[in-house]
Amino acid sequence: MIDDLIERMLRGDRRATARLITLVENDEEKAREIISKIFPRTGRARIIGITGPPGAGKSTLLDKLIKVVREEDQVVGVIAIDPTSPFTGGALLGDRIRMQRHSTDPGVFIRSMATRGSLGGLAKATNDAIKVLDAYGCDVIFVETVGVGQIEVDIVKTADTVVLVTVPGLGDDVQAIKAGLMEIADVFVINKADKEGADATYFELNLMLDLEKERWEKRGWRPPIVETVATTMKGIRELWDAIKDHQKFLKESGEIERKRRFRAEEEIKAIVSGKIARAIESRLGEEEVSNLIRGVVKREIDPYSAADLILEKTLGVKP
């Protein structure tokens, strides 16, 4: 079944592509088989992350960006992520609303994904879904994160270029995005730049970047700030140019190699820790392990020592 789906996907069949994404999302065994089979055909697409606080206009901006990229005749993939409710497991995925005019364009493939318990702003299977779209033939893959606060920075482990979208009037807005988010942006966007306060936001961002001069000078890339009004297309072409400039920088500076290494490392680490967690969880019911847990409850052994013993017993790892 999987071989057939992959073959159909490589011929450009959208239903097969969509089903492969479902499988990598739902079924770990199948994900493994699919990824191992398509992996040699991946690594070609440019991956661009769009992140920022809720309501900043990420989906609308993306809608307009797709339009510009399509003028260059590139095949576009979009993965748009919205949160899963931790209480019901349900999700309402609404990013597509803003991009629906592209849904009948054969050169655009849009997929909504729910976070399904992942907390870093992405869906659990985002990286695998990207690989499917990459093998399908997308030249550019946009990943729109959930609306983020300060710490959902997983996108940096996934995208080549991270675009951080903010808007004027978030209060002391630069403070609000300072901690983690500021550091991962390759391109800043001030969307809704026709609103009052856009100049102040620009000034603050610029100042912030000046203060971090040392960091970006070492990297060789000062993140540009692009002002946009997504609803009227203002600044969208400039934004795409800024993204392309960054892609060029990545290539010429060799930074892309470093990024890919980092990404592969993070991905392997995540898979390994997932496997270890499952190996241990599967043994939590066993006599020996439950005795240890009981021991901790009774204060006969401390949790650190119990964990060491469990690791030693399950994986043969000495602390």
Partner: protein
């Protein structure tokens, strides 16, 4: 029963009427019941809806129509689905809601709509219908 969080539902509003309160209430209620719901907004063409169904690989398509054009738009959607190889009740469950008179509802259920839910239908009926029928789809049948 198929785990609800792995059941994907597209709520679509075809045609020209812009009254989407009902569609939004249903979308939210299905989310709260634990389904993954994709909402695509108002004024969608049948082509846009069917393409979204394909790209999102959904299991249930819920169509909301209040304009009176249901006997044109719903058959058109069903036709496009079949053209793309999606057989109603086999590859996808299609349900409909809105202002649809009983005679029309009967007709639509004959040509592939799983169930038409009229005004005042409790959400629990929609949820029960999905729970009872989604596992019959090819995708969820054991290979």
């Amino acid at each position: 029963m198929v785990e609800r969080s792995k059941v994907r539902v597209l709520v679509a509003k075809p045609g020209l009427d812009g009254h989407d309160r009902g569609a939004k209430v249903v979308a939210r209620a299905l989310r709260d019941a634990g389904f993954e719901v994709i909402y695509t907004g108002i004024r969608q063409t049948p082509e846009q809806i069917v393409e979204s169904v394909i790209q999102e690989d959904v299991d249930v398509l819920g169509i909301s129509i209040l304009s009176g054009a249901h006997m044109v738009l719903i058959p058109k959607i069903l036709h496009l689905l079949e053209e793309k190889g999606l057989k109603p009740n086999d590859d996808i469950l299609v349900i409909a809601g809105g202002i649809i008179p009983p005679d029309d509802a009967q007709e639509l259920e004959k040509i592939g709509v799983g169930r038409v839910f009229g005004p005042g239908s409790p959400i629990s009926e929609i949820i029960a219908f999905i729970d009872e029928n989604v596992h019959k789809l090819k995708k969820f049948r054991p290979a």
